[in-house]
Amino acid sequence: MIVVRILLLVFFQAFFLRDVSPLGEWTRPEWTLWALLLIPPQANSFLKLTLGFAMGVGLDIAMGSYGHHMVAGTVLGGLLPALHRLFAPREGYEISDHPILRDMGSSWLVGLTFSAALIYHLALMLVSNWYWHLIPGALLPTLTSAVFTTLCCLVLHLMVYAPDRRKSSS
């Protein structure tokens, strides 16, 4: 299911949503991150790393970006277990916990999504600019893009896991 979700989002981002950027480089969303963030926190670290790498490969193939997303996806996949540990509740994750608003709460969801988006955009910015003198100028657009990606992921999340749906399912 996770793989299918990643493939679908890679497809949509590459062919339909890549131009959804209302303020140009200041708001460049990475929709596919949402699929990666739906990996359960209890999942194996290798799975997170592999799926992060696979997501990057998919995006690079689909968008022709020559390894930029591979690097960023691998960085995020490698740091995702640490992020999950960082945002873990005091008593730890339960076996039935899903990374959704209903189970983990809004602060967990917003915090994790923003952190992941920031890491991904920072890695992407580094491999896109490469030269140190270009990096300070790219920091602010990276930050705003991370915020915009967070918003997009939350919108997607609310669309798929809407509160009314949660009530009806429960």
């Binding site: 790393l49 020559y66 390894g67 690097v71 996949g77 490469w130 030269y131």
Partner: protein, 270 residues
């Protein structure tokens, strides 16, 4: 091996992360020109720094070896300098009435025990029998016979004669000759067993034979052999003059030669 396996297992995630990052970066560097140039710029600077540091350490570690090489080279140069000082060219001695006339060697010694050497000038150039001859400031021989334009020289490399010499500037007087065997070695005769002589000592003219002034370089001691039961030791000497390459000669002229000859003869009465 088991510990290594455990270590790998413990760090498997980190290793997998590094491997995937390496794959990603290699793809990126292969396809992105800007990334590639920046990467090589950064890694080039780092590799230069590492290489520079390594070179510095390598030089530091080789200091002892280089120091030994330099010391050896220094010793060799000092030795050469010393021998050059000793073989310094003879300066015309006007105080003691010695002057020189230049000449040219036409035929040098050929290694045979009694081979003659021929030079110019002869009588027309003021050359007389019995004059000492120098080559490069060192003793070469003496004029044996004089013609109009040429003269015959009895060199140190003639087995039929001997030369009065001194071991060192203030050492004992001995007789130098050639046994006709090896052209590169002369023999010191009549050196008493107790005399201090070691390899490297210089041999100078004594001046007693009236053909050369004293302290003209003749050679250097090559070997000293003290045979048991013998009163004299056998000393071999390397001549300073290279008889195979000598060309320019200096004929020694003493301004008061007739007076010396008269004084040295037994018939002279004051």
């Amino acid at each position: 091996m088991r510990n290594l396996w455990l270590l790998l297992q413990r760090n498997a995630f980190t290793l997998a992360f590094i491997a995937l990052m390496a794959v990603s970066l290699s793809v990126l560097l292969r396809n992105d020109g800007a990334a590639r140039s920046s990467w090589f710029k950064q890694t080039g600077a780092i590799s230069y720094m590492i290489d520079h540091q390594r070179h510095g350490w390598s030089n530091y570690l080789r200091l002892a070896e280089q120091n030994a090489e330099l010391a050896e080279e220094n010793a060799n140069l000092r030795s050469r300098l010393l021998s050059m000082d000793m073989a310094t060219e003879w300066v015309e001695d006007t105080v003691r009435h010695w002057t020189v006339r230049s000449g040219m060697l036409i035929k040098g010694p050929d290694g045979k025990p009694r081979s003659p050497s021929i030079a110019t000038p002869g009588l027309n150039g003021g050359i007389e029998t019995g004059m000492g001859v120098l080559s490069g400031g060192a003793a070469f021989g003496t004029v044996e016979e004089v013609g109009e334009d040429h003269c015959r020289i009895l060199t140190l490399m003639h087995s039929g004669t001997s030369w009065s010499c001194r071991i060192g500037r203030n050492g004992p007087v001995a007789s130098l000759g050639w046994d006709g065997m090896d052209m590169g070695l002369l023999q010191l005769k009549d050196v008493p067993r107790h005399v201090q002589a070691v390899r490297g000592d210089s041999i100078f003219t004594s001046g007693y034979d009236l053909r050369f002034p004293p302290d003209v370089m003749m050679g250097t001691i090559f070997d000293v052999e003290r045979q048991s039961g013998a009163d004299f030791m056998s000393v071999s000497v390397v001549p300073t003059v290279d008889f195979k390459s000598s060309r320019h000669l200096d004929f020694l002229v003493h301004q008061a030669d007739s007076e010396r000859t008269a004084l040295s003869s037994t018939e002279w009465q004051p």
